[in-house]
């Protein structure tokens, strides 16, 4: 009985000693290897993704992996399963291992700030892939798609197709998780494109998907029921297309371009589903994030920071719009087309 009672107390004492031993230093530990001089040894880069649950993230992960391999850099990987607390621990684990750089896909713009600070304190350069951090004194570089401009251009193309029909279209926009700065940018880009074209486009529904396919399907189905004559749909991410097409099919509205009743469809990302829909003639256009460009720029920014070069806080990926008119020409650059192969 005595042993059982005293054991937890012993453990408390042990951990307390560990705590006191480790807390005296401002840097985590003298055991953390300082970043190596360039060219001294094979570099280790920690890649921490929030999730690999969509094709885009998998494509991004593979693109970074390929880019690092091309440069003979060892990649250490960690996926947080959408848990910001776990991701913080994973980043700190990378720091403990003395990685030479960190590429981070944060869950959101705010929870990544302690992670960036931890990397800054350890003097390890950190680059954010595809999602920037909020304004902060913590130092990092973010490589992101120009969500607003690319969305605006994509929707502008869709509006041009709408104008050719000679009729006014009722429109639906499927929004992402508005806690995600990318979703906000795409929403704003949509609104930018629609502004001034009210004679052609009337937005009757804004569906909040929170990046959830089930929510998207329910929202689109409800919107189609409330407005059966919706003929223009933009989605903030192509990964929601299965939900949208399912709702359209249930309503008997899923028609190819040129068929009576075709709903002008547009998206963002450029995944394999969008590529197939383009090839099959259902999808009018999608804004493609150039994942290869973003991966290359992320790795380069990291290496430049290691060498002490000046690197901006933001590197924009302009992306491109792929549509029926340039499909063959642009498909090789579309990451979703390459997955299909």
């Amino acid at each position: 009985m005595k042993r059982i009672t005293s054991f937890p107390l012993t453990f408390v004492a042990l951990f307390g000693a560990l705590l006191c031993g480790g807390c005296g230093k401002s840097d985590p530990d003298g055991n953390t290897s300082p970043p190596s001089a360039p060219g001294a040894k094979k570099l280790n880069i920690g890649v921490a993704f929030e999730t690999l649950q969509t094709e885009y993230w998998v494509a991004g992960f593979e693109a970074i992996k390929a880019e690092l391999k091309k440069r003979d850099i060892t990649m250490l990987e960690a996926v947080a399963d959408q848990d910001a607390s776990r991701q913080l621990q994973q980043v700190k684990t990378f720091i403990t291992r003395g990685v030479d750089g960190i590429i981070l896909v944060p869950k959101d713009a705010k929870t990544c700030i302690p992670m960036i600070r931890a990397a800054n304190e350890a003097r390890i350069p950190i680059v954010l892939f595809n999602r920037p951090a909020d304004k902060t004194d913590a130092v990092s570089t973010a490589v992101v798609a120009d969500n607003r401009t690319l969305t605006r251009d994509t929707v502008a193309y869709m509006i041009e197709q709408a104008k050719k029909t000679g009729t006014k279209h009722k429109a639906m926009v499927v929004l992402g998780d508005l806690g995600d700065i990318n979703a906000i940018g795409r929403r704003d880009g949509f609104e930018d494109a629609v502004k001034g074209n009210e004679s052609v486009i009337q937005v009757v529904s804004r569906v909040p998907s929170e990046w959830n396919q089930e929510k998207a399907q329910a929202g689109v189905a409800n919107a189609l029921q409330a407005n059966p004559d919706i003929s223009f749909i933009f989605t903030s991410s192509d990964f929601l297309f299965p939900s949208i097409t399912s709702a359209l099919k249930a309503a008997g509205r899923y028609k190819k371009i040129g068929e009576p009743g075709h709903v002008i469809l547009g998206g963002f990302d450029g995944d394999a589903t969008a590529y197939q829909m383009l090839k099959d003639g259902y999808l009018d256009a999608t804004g493609v994030q150039d994942v290869y460009f973003e991966a290359q720029q992320s790795v380069q920014a990291l290496l430049d920071r290691r060498e002490g070069k000046t690197v901006g806080e933001l590197i924009l990926d302009p992306g491109f719009v792929i549509h029926q008119g340039n499909l063959n020409e642009m498909a090789p650059r579309m990451w979703g087309a390459n997955i299909k192969k």
Partner: protein, 328 residues
């Protein structure tokens, strides 16, 4: 009919197996063995920086697991703990930032704790008064509270928390002291008080406990209040650590919480469990997770491994029950 004689070898084997399964320190021994086995080829595993990092992750997990232990001792389960973490996170953050008029951190913390306890009380009240299964009640409250947290913030995180609040999650000595105080208090309560004995009695046989004069409903209710309170305390640390009030905070750690509690030896069938065991279980899962991350295994491998470990622990729990109380 004469019983078939049991050989000495069978008897020794059975005795050793029983001792192993019933040993209080089985999980701790496995943790130490695992650590020793992995340390030589897991870079950084034994460094104090890594251990401190792992400790930072372990502390809030242990706090929630303490509450879960009390609930599981009574034979119940609380699936709503992660939603309580999220809701208390955003409510506290709203109060302490300009949204809520910049309430002092101490008030914010007290409100979070009170809210957590209150939500636990709601669970306990529904379970005891309506006599509904704990699984269903806490599953429903998990969904409701989770949705409410998202609605309250419109999916947005809340930033700009006061430094004094952030210290509760970021300063390891403070977080450790809070966790140790809670752990020791819960341990002593279970081991040294009538309240603790009543909790075990309820879990072992609620009917017999009732006949013996144990206030079964009150004990069950109290366990859920404690669980909600522990979840709120963990939320204080997690929110401080991430510097953000988040409506999805802790969403993915429910399996880790339940798994660590079961791995430690607290029985899913009720009536058996100790805070020390839960600590060993949390330690085991944290070391496992940490080591697998340092080995740079894919997340899928890590998830599969942890799932297998938790399944093994559940099987071991069933075997232990068979040895201890002859439950089938």
């Amino acid at each position: 009919m004469a019983a078939t004689p049991v050989t000495n070898l069978e008897s020794r084997t059975t005795t050793r197996l029983r001792s192993l399964c019933l040993s209080e320190y089985l999980v701790l021994a496995l943790t130490v063995l695992m650590f020793a086995a992995l340390a030589p080829f897991t870079p950084g595993l034994g460094t104090s920086a890594n251990l401190l990092n792992a400790l930072g992750y372990l502390l809030p997990l242990f706090i929630v697991a303490v509450g879960m232990t009390l609930v599981m001792i009574t034979g119940g389960i609380d699936l709503s703990v992660t939603s309580i973490i999220a809701l208390t996170s955003v409510v506290g953050a709203k109060l302490m930032t300009s949204d809520g008029g910049g309430t002092p951190a101490i008030i914010g913390v007290l409100v979070m704790l009170a809210l957590g306890a209150g939500l636990g009380a709601l669970n306990g009240a529904v379970i005891t008064m309506l006599r509904l299964p704990a699984f269903i009640v806490t599953l429903a409250s998990m969904m409701f509270l989770s949705g409410f947290a998202v609605w309250l913030t419109q999916s947005k995180n809340i930033y700009g928390l006061p430094g004094s609040f952030l210290a509760l999650g970021q300063r390891l000595p403070i977080a450790f002291a809070l966790t140790a105080a809670l752990g020791v208090a819960a341990h002593l309560m279970l081991r040294r008080t009538v309240f603790g004995r009543w909790l075990y009695a309820v879990g072992q046989n609620a009917t017999a406990a009732h006949i013996s004069g144990v206030p079964v409903r009150a004990m069950t209710f109290a366990a859920y209040v404690a669980s909600g309170l522990c979840a709120a305390l963990a939320s204080v640390m997690l929110t401080g650590r991430l510097e953000t009030g988040s409506p999805v905070l802790g969403r993915e750690i429910l399996l880790d919480i339940i798994g660590a509690t079961v791995v430690g030896g607290t029985s899913l069938f009720g009536g058996m469990g100790k805070i020390a065991w839960t600590f060993f279980g949390v330690l085991f899962l944290t070391v496992l997770d940490n080591a697998l991350n340092l080995l740079s295994l894919s997340q899928f491998s890590i998830t599969i491994t942890k799932g297998a470990v938790i399944l093994f622990a559940a099987v071991l729990d069933a075997v232990r029950n068979r040895f201890v109380v002859g439950r089938s």
